[in-house]
């Protein structure tokens, strides 16, 4: 073989990274559960593979989600990924056309200008040559943005950019050198042989005017090959490892692999697929309380570096805002909960004191939850409405109230939570009810996700009250009130309940639309997901949210979570209500009016 010496660093580098990636993929995939491996095998020869390829194209190359979220950042990532990809593809096609075969030495397509010094004559050859010059310019635009971002991250809409480790720096230098050196060596070769196009040829001519190109040509190609090699060899210890891992993630996710309650191969894949883009830093409200070392990007970095500590692991509201914005689509909440489960495994409670027993028979079980016990007005409103509508219900946690288990789950106490789940399940099922009505979104989420309640429909009171309205069991009356509706994290992003509360509220008052609603809703700061945050810090987050609400000039702030209500109520004079209270107030007002009793508003 007549492979020139300078090509060897590149060839070794690319072989190394391909072998490395195959080995690590095998390790991770064998680390999946048996069922997940079956899923992959079953779905491999189906349309899912094509869907995954399409998604790789959209997300890993075009960076569509990132582009939507942050156009400048998206463009930067796209110019690198897509530009380089096209450069390689165009290089291969160019070589294939030139040699009239697909069977040419690999190095020749990468170092094509060096290998083929004859100037392009045909139109097609000229077009290829121009295309690769154009792509170089395209990538350069990304390189300049990246350089600029290192020194000034503001235009990227980012308050913070992520920090670099040694491996990152080496890989980054390799990456940044690849394209400028390619440009220089192609220009030098063009200066000698006139085989360049509109970008490299003029540069080559210019260089030829004062440099002895013949004697530096080979050296320049060495530098190019070496920078490629540096990048490939540093890849596994750098942030850029996310590039191949993200592709793997897209495939296994498409095949139906999901996170489990323990760390396995998929957890590793997700952890390494984080691109450290830093988008999650901008989503996180904890920055408002000057907590800036435990956000998802840092948390994942700590897992990778095996340096995770409790202070950071538990300092997160689990609000899900970063998860919604993460361009890679990582399951950030569950990733964190899984780590918490691992970290607290050795001390789970047994709750031997919980008693079973036969529950009273009813159509509806009403579970108000610990937080609603702390906001008695919500509880009272709900009980009033249930009585008004003549519902046959059993108030499950009236006196001997047990917890639903979600706070334990969020703290990683999975085995302990299972004990509560078993006890509550028994009670609910033995009541014979068809509906489990809950007033707290935190309970709602765990009842839906982790309880098995065959034949029982779990309903948040926003859904249930709306149903009562639709069935005509409770009256409606529109009061002259303008309110904003705050989507609680666990009801919104956690359980995707956005419309029922709004539809219900529209019967009783007017809603002011906000930018920070539905998926983009803010966290009140009170979340039980965070074990570490101090009350003062919670208040800073809360006040910031309240300021946002105030900018819409609402008469009232309405929410659907007792914890949100409690959190907000301590920080403002504006009336804060749960929607159950709104409904009950509406009903009582309507009753008074119907009886023609005028009461002062």
């Amino acid at each position: 073989m007549d492979i020139p010496f300078f090509a060897w660093p590149f060839l070794l580098g690319i072989t190394f990274i391909i072998v490395f990636f195959i080995i690590i993929s095998i390790i991770w995939i064998t680390g999946l559960s048996g069922i997940d491996r079956v899923r992959i095998r079953k779905n491999f020869f189906t349309v899912k593979t094509f869907q995954a390829i399409w998604e790789v194209f959209r997300e890993s190359l075009i960076h569509r989600k990132m582009y939507k979220r942050n156009p400048v950042l998206g463009y930067m990532h796209m110019s690198f990924a897509f530009g380089w990809f096209l450069l390689i593809v165009v290089g291969h096609i160019e070589a294939a056309v030139h040699y009239h075969t697909l069977n040419f030495p690999f190095w020749k397509s990468i170092f094509f200008r060096y290998a083929e010094t004859n100037p392009p004559v045909t139109f097609i050859a000229k077009a290829f040559s121009a295309a690769s010059d154009f792509l170089l310019i395209y990538i350069f635009s990304g390189v300049f943005l990246a350089l600029y971002k290192r020194f000034n991250s503001k235009p990227f809409g980012m308050k913070k950019t992520t920090h670099l480790k040694t491996g990152d720096k080496i890989a980054l230098i390799g990456l940044w050198l690849i394209f400028p050196t390619r440009y220089v060596c192609e220009s030098i070769t063009a200066g000698i042989y006139h085989n360049g196009s509109f970008f490299t040829q003029p540069t080559g001519n210019f260089l030829a005017s004062f440099l002895p190109l013949q004697s530096i040509e080979l050296a320049s190609w060495w530098v190019y090959s070496l920078s490629l090699a540096v990048f490939f060899f540093a890849l596994p210890v750098s942030r850029y490892m996310h590039i191949p891992v993200e592709i793997l993630l897209i495939f296994v996710r498409k095949y139906g692999v999901r996170l489990k309650k323990h760390v396995n191969g998929y957890t590793r894949i997700q952890t390494f697929a984080c691109s450290r883009c830093g988008v999650c830093l901008d989503s996180c409200q904890m920055i408002k309380a000057n907590i800036n070392n435990s956000q998802s990007v840092y948390f994942l970095k700590q897992i990778r570096g095996r340096k995770l500590n409790d202070e950071q692991l538990f300092n997160c509201l689990l609000c899900g805002r970063c998860q919604k914005d993460c361009p890679v689509g990582l399951d950030l909440n569950d990733l964190r909960i899984t780590q918490r489960i691992e970290s607290t495994k050795t001390y789970n409670s047994k709750y031997d004191y919980l008693k079973g027993g036969i529950s009273p028979q009813a159509d509806v079980v009403y579970f108000t939850g610990c937080m609603t016990h702390l906001t008695p007005s919500i509880k009272k409103a709900m009980l009033n409405v249930l009585d008004y509508a003549n519902i046959n219900y059993w108030f499950m946690d009236k006196d001997e109230a047990s917890c639903c288990g979600r706070p334990l789950m969020q703290a990683g106490q999975y085995e302990a939570a299972k004990k509560l789940i078993r006890n509550n399940t028994e009670k609910i099922l033995s009541s014979g009810a068809k509906i489990l009505l809950v007033s707290c979104p935190i309970c709602y989420q765990i009842f839906n996700e982790d309880y098995k309640l065959p034949g029982v429909k779990v309903m948040h009171h926003s859904e249930y009250l709306l149903e009562l309205v639709n069935q005509g069991l409770i009256p409606t009356i529109k009061l002259p009130v303008n309110a904003v509706y705050h989507d609680p994290c666990t009801l919104g992003r956690g359980s995707h309940i956005y419309e029922p509360p709004r539809e219900l509220l529209k019967n009783y008052l007017s809603l002011i639309p906000m930018k920070q609603e539905k998926e983009d809703a803010l966290c009140c700061g009170g979340s039980l997901g965070n074990i570490k945050i101090e009350m003062d810090e919670r208040k800073q987050i809360r006040d910031d949210v309240l300021d946002t609400f105030k900018s819409y000039n609402p008469d009232q702030i309405i929410t659907a979570c007792p914890l949100c209500k409690k959190t907000f109520a301590m920080g403002t004079d504006i009336e804060i209500h749960d929607l159950a209270e709104v409904v009950w107030k509406g009903i009582s007002r309507k009753e008074h009016l119907d009886k023609k009793i005028r009461l002062p508003i």
Binding site: D310, E311, F314, T344, T346, Y347, S349, K350, Y351, Y353, L354, C370, M371, H373, L374, D399, E400, A401, S402, C403, G405, P407, L408, A411, Q413, L420, G526, L528, I531, K532, I533, E534, M535, D536, L563, K566
Partner: protein
Amino acid sequence: MVSFGFELLDSKRIDYNKSDGRLLNEILEKEPSFKRCISCGGCTATCTAGSLTNFNIRKINLMLRHGQTEGLEKEISKCMLCGKCFLVCPRDINLRNVIMLIKKGVLKYNTEKKKI
């Protein structure tokens, strides 16, 4: 000893020879808000586990302060981590963190075996 016809129950006595302050110190370091507790009992009054058992979170806080770590592991395991206590605490103490630290600490310091 002269008998006065009454005596002090062991359970009511703080034996400073047996006092073990390691856990308390760790908690105060990691959750400084715990310093502010005034033993008002608000946490206990609202406690979910307290409504089902004789679990008393304020008493646990006191035991900790006295360095009485014996029996702490069993007691603290009754808590359901529901969070009501920290919401009612007038001193804004992050009690759930205190509880998690106790749960972890009793294992770390092996308080039940009392190898001081």
